[in-house]
């Protein structure tokens, strides 16, 4: 494996059940120290990709390799060792609702290290300061907004300075200001900590603004295109153009596959003959 590659997805196929394949023979590489964005419509398998990298699910076939080591979802000892090196921001934060903001960020530090409480206090406030929420440390989770919750979850994800930070839809549901702040934060954290960032999103402008490499994915995990943001923006491929410009008509269909409308509304040939 190339030393510049932190994660390699090698001919991976995965489905939650036998009838539905989410990812079909997907191969990807994520460069070390870079911000890589995976863009795609809802249901194309972006979040599933993150779960495979985190070892939450095992691939039906193919390999997921993290820093030269193949991830085996059944080997819990290996999984826990690898997971110590990654942080994940969940789509809805996944904060512990029975803990305060401060205790949420302190949670991984208390659980995973033997640091004294005074040092944990300083680290937690530093992380909260990085996301602009030092003043909210003593609030309950029920007292913070959705955007704040996402930033608290980000502070928790970076509490242990992970090598890989995975962001699942970090911009979903945020107002424009929060979106800009979150995007800038992802880029800054990546540059300051030297971590590798993997952003899963369908917000094109933000991802294009902060990413070093962009992968465009469609249903079944098919890779439509990949390259630098500038390359994708300049692409003449109709599918890429439709996605980055948000055009309603094009190769990507708006409607879920369905029978002919006439059949569904009883207006087919047989129905007509009956009348």
């Amino acid at each position: 494996m190339n030393p510049d590659t932190l994660i390699e997805i090698d001919h991976v196929t995965f489905g939650y059940d036998e009838r539905r394949t989410i990812l079909n023979d997907v191969s990807l590489r994520f460069a070390r120290g870079k911000v890589t964005a995976v863009l795609g419509g809802s249901g194309c398998g972006k979040t599933t990709l993150l779960r495979l990298i985190g070892g939450v699910h095992g691939a039906t076939s193919g390999r997921v390799v993290f820093d030269g080591e193949e991830i085996d979802a059944r080997n819990s000892a290996q999984l826990y060792r690898l997971r110590r090196r990654l942080g994940m921001l969940f789509q809805f934060g996944a904060l512990f609702t029975d803990l305060s903001v401060y205790d949420n960020v302190a949670f991984p530090l208390r659980e995973m290290t033997d640091l004294p409480e005074t040092l944990i206090h300083d680290i937690v406030l530093m992380k909260l300061n990085a996301v602009g929420l030092r003043g909210a440390a003593r609030l309950k989770i029920s007292e913070v907004s959705g955007g704040m919750a996402r930033r608290i979850a980000l502070a928790r994800a970076i509490a242990l300075d992970p090598e890989l930070i995975m962001y699942d839809e970090p911009f979903a549901g945020l107002d424009l200001i929060s979106m800009g702040v979150a995007a800038k934060l992802i880029r800054t954290l990546n540059d300051v900590t030297g971590a590798t960032s993997l952003v899963i999103s369908h917000d094109v402008p933000e991802c294009m603004a902060i990413s070093d490499h962009v992968i465009l994915m469609s249903n079944g995990g098919r890779i439509v295109a990949q390259g630098t943001p500038a390359e994708l923006m300049a692409s003449t491929d109709p599918e890429v153009r439709q996605f980055v410009r948000g055009e309603p008509d094009g190769p990507v269909k708006f409607h879920y596959p369905a029978p002919a409308m006439a059949d569904d509304f009883g207006l087919g040939a047989a129905a007509g003959a009956a009348r």
Binding site: V56, L79, R81, G87, F92, E111, M112
Partner: protein, 259 residues
């Protein structure tokens, strides 16, 4: 042929479910020592599970004591054995009603609360977040609750029995006018610490294992939707109650059989 195939498939599903639950139970036992090392987490859960069940346990124990005294007095007096009311109430509560009724109340009060809490943690991806932090949610979340349930149940059952006996004393001695000294002394002479009290404690500890395990398992394995959590809490009460009643018969046969 289809009916036979369906029956076979159903049997296999049931067996698979039992196997899965057994593996889950063994996994829980494996991480239990970690909870002993962090006993503070267990104490917090004992407060949540045990302390908050106190009111319903004490109120029910008192009511059961009142009713037992009235009912038993009416029966005993016909045989001229009214003075043995204290002993009969004591044995009934310590051997049977204390552990069983406490377990049924526990399943309804604390069991449903545990299932809903774990189920909602799962739905909110809190358990998944913990796993991705390399923290085993079974060790951090389930094991302290499991241990707290096992430790709380005998304490709650003891309180249920104690308040029940007090209730019977209020009715028997205070209301009916039986001799107070005899009420207590007959219990002192007739109740055996090992045969009666210890067996009652063992029973309630076993019920603690059953009720807490069922509640945690249902919460952990629930479908992460509002309907799934609602269904899991109902299943917790039904399965815990049936398991407690079935196990009570087995334990009573083993502990108090005269043959």
């Amino acid at each position: 042929m289809n009916a036979i195939a369906a029956l076979g498939a159903r049997t296999l599903r049931v067996l698979q479910g039992w196997g899965h639950a057994a593996l889950f139970f063994l996994g829980l036992l494996r991480v239990l020592p970690q909870s002993l090392r962090r006993f503070g987490l267990v104490v917090v859960q004992m407060h949540a599970i045990g302390n908050r069940s106190l009111l319903i346990i004490l109120a029910s124990g008192l009511a059961v004591g009142f009713v037992l005294a009235l009912q038993l007095y009416n029966t005993l007096i016909t045989f001229g054995a009214a003075e043995s009311l204290g002993l009969v109430v004591n044995l009934t509560l310590v051997r049977e009603l204390g552990p069983v009724v406490t377990a049924l109340l526990f399943a309804g009060r604390a069991g449903t609360s545990l299932t809903a809490e774990i189920g909602l943690m799962k739905a909110g991806e809190q358990l998944a977040a913990m796993e991705l932090m390399a923290i085993d949610p079974r060790a951090r979340v389930l094991a302290p609750r499991f241990l707290a349930g096992i430790l709380s149940m005998p304490l709650l059952a003891a309180l249920f029995s104690a308040i029940g006996i007090l209730g019977a004393w209020l009715v028997g001695v205070g209301l009916i006018g039986l001799d107070g000294g005899n009420f207590w002394s007959i219990q002192q002479n007739g109740v055996d610490v090992w045969r009666d009290v210890a067996n009652g404690i063992i029973k309630s500890a076993v019920f603690g294992v059953i009720c807490t395990f069922v509640a945690l398992y249902q919460g952990y394995e629930t479908e992460a939707t509002p309907e799934g959590v609602a269904y899991a809490t109902t299943r917790t009460v039904v399965l815990s109650s049936l398991a407690v009643l079935g196990m009570d018969f087995i334990l009573t046969a083993l502990m108090f059989s005269t043959r």
